[in-house]
């Protein structure tokens, strides 16, 4: 007789989901690298568009890098559920005795590891192109580190809602970009606040609060959206 899953059992299942996602990501390197390249390209478009005057670049750097990171993170959101939906694995996840919210959490964490972390690591390189000093770069990395998991979590809701829908890619962007705005405001604002002498502590606390909120609430919404998409 199979034992009912205890807390440890649920953790092992989440780990299995996480390992599978990461292994798949590493095998399909192209899918993981493309958003990173996209990040670099968008960030480079801004100086080309507004001119390379160093004062201007320095001022717009946090905002530009944050917007570029946000868009790049959003690019890879669709792969969170689309392949599994197409081959039937998603149904099996929904039918798992382990609560769907936990499996979704594992998937969002995997998305953060595969797309968020590379962005965090790439950001200082791009930041140098904009003339940010090492303190600003550090703050930028910290805000991205706290913000990108939130983007993955909120994004998972959008990815689940638009499964199998016409024009899913663009629709996904329309749905979640408004929800990303608070993360953008606090993330990008930290560097500027620090430069103005106001300190970045407030922004970092708010980003952490957003992360905690989305950790608790988005799995529910995503699980509900997945069930609706599979009806």
């Amino acid at each position: 007789m199979t034992p009912t899953p205890n807390i440890l059992g649920a953790g092992s299942v989440m780990l299995a989901v996480l390992k599978r996602e990461v292994a798949l990501g590493l095998r399909q390197k192209g899918e993981v690298l493309t958003p990173l390249v996209f990040f670099m390209v968008i960030a480079s478009l801004f100086p080309l568009g507004v001119g390379a005057e160093s004062g201007l670049l320095l001022r717009m750097a946090p905002g530009v890098l944050w917007v570029s990171a946000l868009l790049a993170a959003m690019l890879s959101l669709q792969r969170m559920f689309a392949t599994d939906y197409a081959d039937g694995s998603l149904e099996q996840m929904v039918l798992s005795p382990t609560p769907l919210g936990l499996l979704v959490l594992a998937k969002a964490l995997a998305h953060f590891l595969l797309s968020g972390v590379p962005l965090v690591l790439m950001a200082p390189v791009l930041g140098l192109q904009f003339g940010l000093d090492s303190r600003a770069l550090g703050i930028l990395m910290l805000t991205l580190l706290l913000g990108t998991p939130t983007l993955s979590l909120i994004g998972s809701i959008g990815a689940a809602l638009t499964l199998g829908v016409r024009g899913a890619g663009v629709l996904l962007s329309l749905l979640i970009l408004p929800l990303y705005i608070p993360v953008l405001i606090f993330g990008a604002g930290a560097v500027e606040a620090d430069a103005a002498g106001l300190g970045f502590g407030g922004h970092v606390s708010l980003l952490s609060a957003l992360l905690v909120l989305s950790l608790f609430f988005s799995p529910f919404a995503t699980a509900a959206a997945l069930r609706i998409s599979l009806e």
């Binding site: 007789m1 199979t2 299995a16 197409a86 081959d87 039937g88 039918l95």
Partner: protein, 211 residues
């Protein structure tokens, strides 16, 4: 083994896209028996199976597992359920063994690698456990999906046209598999366009008709 399980449909109705597909479907399936759902194309056989899994919403009526509505049971019901639909639920970029390990974990059990190898051998997939699913033929992929079934400890099997894309040997393997499952007190619900006998177990027939 604890008390024998039962699956009951009580005045079940289903609608899709605003149209009522069927209504007032009643049925009771006891342990060790299998239910064959028959009906014309589009009458709602797949919808009924998905309702049993809890994937599709119920328009009216109830589905009871061990006399308790499945809506009230959540995790414990899904523990007892194994679903094989039209799709194989296999990730193409991963090996056969990795896939079986994952689906096993989803079911809450760690995969016994030796047992998996013997099941694969039984289904004619010896030595293919490290092969990527992408490199298998359609029939072989289907057999991997069947291995998932063989490795599951669920008491209720819900199978949607499981004989599709299988050769004669495969069909025989599957029907033997279901027969063994029923011998151990399991239940099975399936649809198929082919009437395949399952060992010595006679099918309980449920005919779906449009209202």
């Amino acid at each position: 083994m604890d008390t024998p399980a039962t699956l009951t449909f009580s005045k079940l109705a289903c609608s899709k896209g605003g149209r009522l597909l069927f209504k007032d479907v009643d049925c009771t399936l006891a342990a060790g028996h299998w239910l064959y759902i028959a009906g014309a194309n589009g009458v709602g056989k797949t919808s009924l199976l998905r309702m049993v899994c809890g994937l599709a919403p119920v328009e009216a009526g109830q589905i009871l597992w061990n006399h308790t509505p499945i809506g009230a049971q959540h995790d414990s019901y899904r523990q007892d359920l194994c679903y094989l639909g039209h799709l194989n639920a296999l990730q193409e970029s991963m090996s056969v063994q990795e896939n079986l390990m994952f689906t096993s974990a989803l079911g809450g059990i760690a995969l016994d690698v030796q047992k998996a190898k013997s099941v694969l051998e039984r289904f004619g997939l010896r030595g293919r456990s490290q092969q990527l699913v992408r490199h298998l033929s359609q029939g072989q992929k289907r057999r991997v999906a069947l291995s998932r079934l063989a490795l599951s400890t669920a008491r209720l099997w819900v199978l949607d046209e499981p004989y599709v894309a299988m050769d004669e040997a495969g069909i025989q393997m599957l029907s033997d598999l279901i027969a063994t499952h029923l011998d151990h007190g399991g239940l099975a619900v399936l649809t198929s366009h082919q009437r395949v006998p399952v060992g010595t177990h006679t099918a309980q027939l449920l005919e779906l008709k449009a209202p």
